[in-house]
């Protein structure tokens, strides 16, 4: 069971209070009717699935209820950081630097 820091509650809490919500920073097209079938497929289905730092979403379901973003190393399952929805993508280099 992972330990996850909720950026809204400012507390580090057991995974049992959270649900995973897939890869982060995949924005829904402003006007879907204007995008090609391929672009729509990418939005719906194509995922990075990296071995290493992964930008992903979690929701503090049994808590403040907010969706938020996280960077987690999928090899160690360690969180490098978590941040509020809407905040910019943190820079990986500095993060992994910090992680060392």
């Amino acid at each position: 069971m992972l330990l996850i820091t909720c950026p809204y509650c400012q507390e580090t809490l057991p995974e049992a209070e959270f649900v995973y919500a897939g890869e982060a920073h995949i924005a829904r097209p402003e006007d879907p009717s204007q995008v090609s079938d391929e672009a729509w497929r990418d939005f719906l289905f194509i995922r990075t699935n990296p071995k290493g730092p992964h930008f992903e979403r979690w929701r503090h379901l049994h808590g403040c209820g907010r969706f938020f973003n996280a960077v987690r190393d999928t090899v160690s399952d360690r969180f490098l950081t978590t941040y509020k929805a809407g905040e910019p993508k943190p820079d990986l280099a500095t993060l992994t630097g910090e992680a060392k």
């Binding site: 649900v19 009717s33 209820g65 907010r66 969706f67």
Partner: protein
């Protein structure tokens, strides 16, 4: 009678006798004994049979790593009482009055076991033999060979009665968790506790103390070991340390979460029934100190598995902790100094030590001196080439080795052999953390190197030998853990006298005169894996220890390689001519020792296995004798049988009553979401396919929700209560999914919308009244709302009081009849139901359940999401194109509806089906166009719903059929096992297509 008990010795209570039985024979042991120590006290070594060759076996250890002495333990004589554990380690099973112990994997008896014939054929059954044969004739595998193999396999027998005991679980948060209650663990706990931290100390044994329990002669800070131990344990308790004996750390999970299993009642003769048998602890520790000590390794020589052959350290434990001599005449065989002290201890209580056989040529002077003083013959630079004895070792053959050459052998009579191949750190939990190991070439063992977890390793667990070193290191690691948590503390050291430090060498199988392929030198005792099996695997091309392990099953027995992994690795590396690290170590996987299913289930058994949600009206339905069905986590009344009615007759009556008079239905399980805020309508526009902005505040509308993939996810009636307030209903099973999906879009895609979502599913109890007399029944109770058709037409909603209860009243129908849904605060649900029920008697009211609801809605062609749709159905497929707001630029799933495959003619579309011969179709039955085609047939769809319609006096069905809309009136065929049914494709509305009944 217990000839091998040494009076006054050990930590057992010589004043308290405990009766138990082994294979039906009564025995007496002492309080504090294990089954193994109690049997050994009676001179009984033979306790089990090995897996493959059924060789007679006795305990080789005194701990949880025991591979041989596995027994079935029972509470009560009879298996049918349900308290039966197969494969219990006799070396860990604490004695309790009346314990029944039964040997396993033998027939007819432990002494004479027919299965032992395998041993005679061992040359035919090398590692992996089954991959090479049993292939001809083909049909024999299922019928002959496999049944034979399966019958031979397995050790104990599964319990055959339900388990009457209960199990428990807890969460525990602690600053420092110390695993292992030996000297290192005690010192670590002391240091951390003195730093003022929350400390928990666990040990798998019945007593805290670890190796100290077997070392009474050691003196610590001038105090005898056991007195010091008692004082230390008291001090820890006083410092508030949580001391947990009988507790095994089974696994080390992410971020310092450790699983513990506490054995609560197995050692008690008559436990309090309110106590759980075992308790699972899910511990989250800020720092972990692993002080699990080290495991002694067997030496690998021909016949090293005979009962009476055991680890020297274990013999020492049986003597010093349990007061039991493991034999009359012992030969000690070792490559490590530690075994010498076992010899000296046993000699001191009158066991004659026939010889100390050391593989090493160079030996410590002090040891030689002590042996000489005790008159013990020492054979240095010797090997062992065989043992004799059938059910117990009776002699051992030792030979000198000069410059690699094995000299002539000599037999020494004995009734026990104490062996030691040195020690290897217990790395299991460390390796669960995926920590890196480093190979210590000199010690021929792996040592912990580094881990990502916040974890320290102390004492023998990192290769430090001796109690003084363990105490000092434990204290230092406890202090390090404390410092990591920002606490200050000084590590202390202790002066230890008569400490038994020592060193040794690690060996592959011992040299012998026989050629290696004919010796039976066991590496994995339980699985009967010998050194030659390992070499065969390498010869056959197995290059990694992972392959060797899987091919030979070395290390896969119930001790999970505690006895065999390192020896196996050393031999495989030798066979490959590679350094051990390049051959690799099979990773240790949780749990550390086998863990009962019950402990893992904890409270989640029987009724508590999963939630059962019930509505406020459920107790009434139960009192009425309703038959229920689970829907998601809810239980719903399925039908209300009157005496003598089965489902069909009850449902027929409920349908008829509802269509002709009025029916009451508990719709409280429907998901309800209150959507409030200035942008409420705008939000619904984006989520649902339908338009919402223009919906009047006193109206309802059917809402259809798609996934972004364009397929139907959910539906339900949505009432607009005010300009900025909607009351949304969802399917019973979909409530949580739908709310989560809405929150996702609101929070992450459209955060600028000023609207909030709240689940009110359980705020409201919902009673649906359906039928021509619904208004007549309801009207007298309603205040504040005019129910006349003009004032309150179909799809109207309003607030009022019903029988004095505040209510949200809707005029909606899922039956095609005049219908009302009354939402009242949950606390009033049952009272209102009973009021209406009473009043309804005059109108011939009935209560109906989900089954009747399904029939009535099917007669109207109303779909049920999840039954008539299956996650691959678009609105158009379901004939719900009308529910799509044509003018809307976008809504969830809209874009996917224009993907190529969504537009093809041949999509499956929802239609009605009427069988030609009026027989009822089976739900799920497949539809074909040409019934005479051969198998595999081309299927064009399937029946999604099928019922007998009381209203139409015939069966009706809904089906998804390829291009169904274009096949109206066509005949299709439904091939069943016995016959093929013909059915005609129709529209989906079977009753009152004009909807007049709704408008009454």
């Amino acid at each position: 009678m217990s000839a091998f008990r040494v009076h006054g010795k050990g930590r057992v209570n010589h004043g308290r006798k405990v009766g138990f039985r082994f294979d039906g024979t009564p025995f007496e042991g002492l309080e504090g004994d294990t089954v193994a120590s109690a049997l050994l006290a009676h001179g009984v070594h033979l306790m089990g049979r090995s897996f493959k060759y059924h060789r007679p076996r006795g305990p080789v250890t005194a701990g949880s790593e025991e591979p041989n002495a596995l027994i079935e333990t029972r509470r009560g004589i009879d298996r049918s009482e349900g308290r039966v554990e197969p494969n219990t380690r006799a070396t860990m099973a604490e004695l309790r009055e009346g314990l029944e112990a039964v040997s396993q994997n033998r027939w007819p008896s432990l002494g004479f076991d027919v299965g032992a014939v395998n041993d005679g054929f061992h040359k035919l059954l090398p590692a992996g033999f089954y991959y090479k044969t049993f292939m001809w004739p083909k049909s024999f595998w299922d019928k002959v060979y496999e049944p034979f193999i399966r019958a031979a396999a397995g050790l104990g027998r599964s319990p055959d009665a339900p388990d009457p005991d209960s199990y428990a679980s807890r969460y525990l948060h602690t600053d420092v968790l110390v695993v292992g209650g030996g000297p290192a663990g005690l010192a670590a706990a002391r240091a951390a506790a003195e730093a003022g931290l929350r400390v928990t100390l666990v040990d798998e044994s019945s007593e805290i103390g670890g190796s100290l329990l077997s070392e009474p002669d050691v003196v610590i800070d001038g105090t005898p070991a056991w007195d010091w131990l008692a004082g230390e344990v008291a001090a820890l308790a006083a410092l508030g340390v949580k001391l947990m004996p009988r507790t095994t750390a089974i696994g080390y999970y992410h971020q310092n979460m450790i699983g513990l299993v506490e054995r609560v009642t197995d050692h008690l003769a008559e436990p309090d029934p309110a106590l759980p048998r075992e308790r699972l602890w899910r511990v989250r520790a800020r720092q972990v100190v692993l002080a699990q000590g080290a495991l002694e390794k067997p030496l690998i020589f021909d016949g090293n598995d005979r009962p009476g052959v055991m680890l020297a350290g274990s013999a020492q434990t049986y003597l010093n902790r349990y007061g039991v001599r493991v034999g009359q005449t012992a030969v000690v065989v070792t490559s490590h100094d530690s075994a010498w002290s076992a010899a000296f201890d046993l000699a001191a209580v009158g066991t004659s030590i026939a010889a100390i056989v050391d593989t090493r040529a160079e030996l410590r002077e002090d040891l030689l001196g002590r042996a000489h003083a005790l008159g013990i013959e020492v054979l240095r630079g010797h090997t062992v080439t065989g043992t004799a004895g059938r059910l117990r070792v009776s002699a051992i053959t030792v030979n000198p080795v000069q410059s690699g050459a094995v000299g002539a052998g000599r037999n020494i009579a004995c009734d026990c052999v104490l062996m030691s191949g040195g020690w290897t750190p217990t790395l299991h939990l460390f390796s669960h953390t995926q920590g890196k190991l480093e190979w210590d070439e000199e010690g021929k063992t792996f040592l912990p190197f580094e881990t990502r977890e916040d974890c320290q390793i102390a004492g023998a667990g990192r290769g430090l030998w001796g109690i003084e070193a363990a105490l000092a290191d434990g204290s230092a690691m406890g202090a390090r853990a404390a410092e990591a948590l920002g606490a200050r503390v000084l590590a202390r050291s202790h002066a230890v006298e008569r400490d038994r430090t020592g060193s040794g060498v690690a060996k592959k199988e011992l040299p012998t005169l026989k050629d290696l392929t004919s010796t039976r030198a066991f590496v994995d005792f339980q699985n009967d894996v010998t050194a030659k099996d390992l070499r065969l695997a390498v010869r056959e091309g197995m290059r990694s220890i992972e392959h060797v392990k899987r091919y030979t099953t070395n290390g896969m027995a119930t001790d999970q390689g505690k006895m065999s992994n390192i020896n196996g690795l050393i031999i495989a590396a030798d066979a490959l001519g590679k350094p051990a690290p390049q051959v690799g170590l099979t990773t240790f996987r949780p749990p550390y020792t086998p863990t009962s299913f019950g402990a893992l289930c904890g409270y989640h058994r029987g009724d508590h296995f999963d939630l059962t949600r019930k509505t406020p009206i459920d107790p009434w339905a139960e009192a009425q004798g309703a038959v229920f069905e689970p829907v998601g986590q809810w239980r719903r009344a399925r039908y209300f049988p009157k005496p003598g009615e089965d489902m069909d007759t009850a449902v027929a009556r409920e349908c008829l009553t509802t269509r002709s008079a009025v029916g009451m239905f508990d719709a409280s399980t429907l998901g309800k979401i209150e959507i409030v805020g200035p942008d409420a309508a705008a939000f619904l526009e984006r989520m649902y396919t339908n338009p919402w902005s223009k919906l009047a505040p006193d109206r309802c509308r059917y809402g259809l929700l798609l996934g972004e993939d364009g397929f139907i996810r959910d539906d339900g009636v949505i009432a607009r209560l005010a300009q900025d307030r909607f009351h949304v209903t969802t399917t019973t099973g979909g409530a949580a999914r739908v709310l989560a999906m809405m929150e996702d879009y609101l929070q992450t895609e459209w955060p600028h919308l000023k609207v909030w979502l709240t689940s009110v599913t359980e705020q409201w109890a919902t009673i649906a009244l359906n039928g021509p007399k619904a208004r007549a029944l309801l009207e007298p109770f309603v205040e504040g709302l005019d129910l006349t058709p003009e004032a309150f037409p179909h799809m109207a909603n309003g607030t009022c009081t019903v029988a004095g209860f505040p209510a949200r009243l809707w005029r909606v129908s899922f039956t095609g009849e005049l219908g009302f849904e009354i939402n009242v605060p949950a606390r009033h649900g049952r009272e209102l139901w009973e009021i209406l029920w009473q009043a309804g008697q005059a109108h011939g009211v009935c209560a109906y359940g989900t089954e009747t609801m399904h029939v009535l809605r099917a007669e109207k062609g109303y779909i049920i999401v999840g039954q008539d749709t299956d996650g691959t159905v678009t609105p158009q497929d379901a004939g719900l194109g009308w529910a799509i707001g044509k003018a809307k630029p976008d809504f969830v799933g809209k874009r996917s509806l224009s993907r190529p495959d969504m537009l093809v003619e041949s999509r499956k579309q929802l239609v009605g089906l009427l069988t030609e011969d009026h027989s009822k179709l089976e739900e799920g039955a497949q539809i074909v166009l040409d019934p005479s085609q051969p198998i595999p047939m081309k299927m064009v769809g399937h029946v999604t719903s099928s019922y007998h319609s009381q209203a139409l006096g015939r069966p009706i069905a809904l089906a998804l059929v390829e291009g169904g809309f274009g096949r109206m009136g066509d005949l299709v065929h439904v091939p069943m096992e016995d016959r093929t049914l013909a059915a005609r494709i129709t529209g989906t509305v079977f009753l009152d297509p004009a909807g007049d009944r709704l408008k009454m």
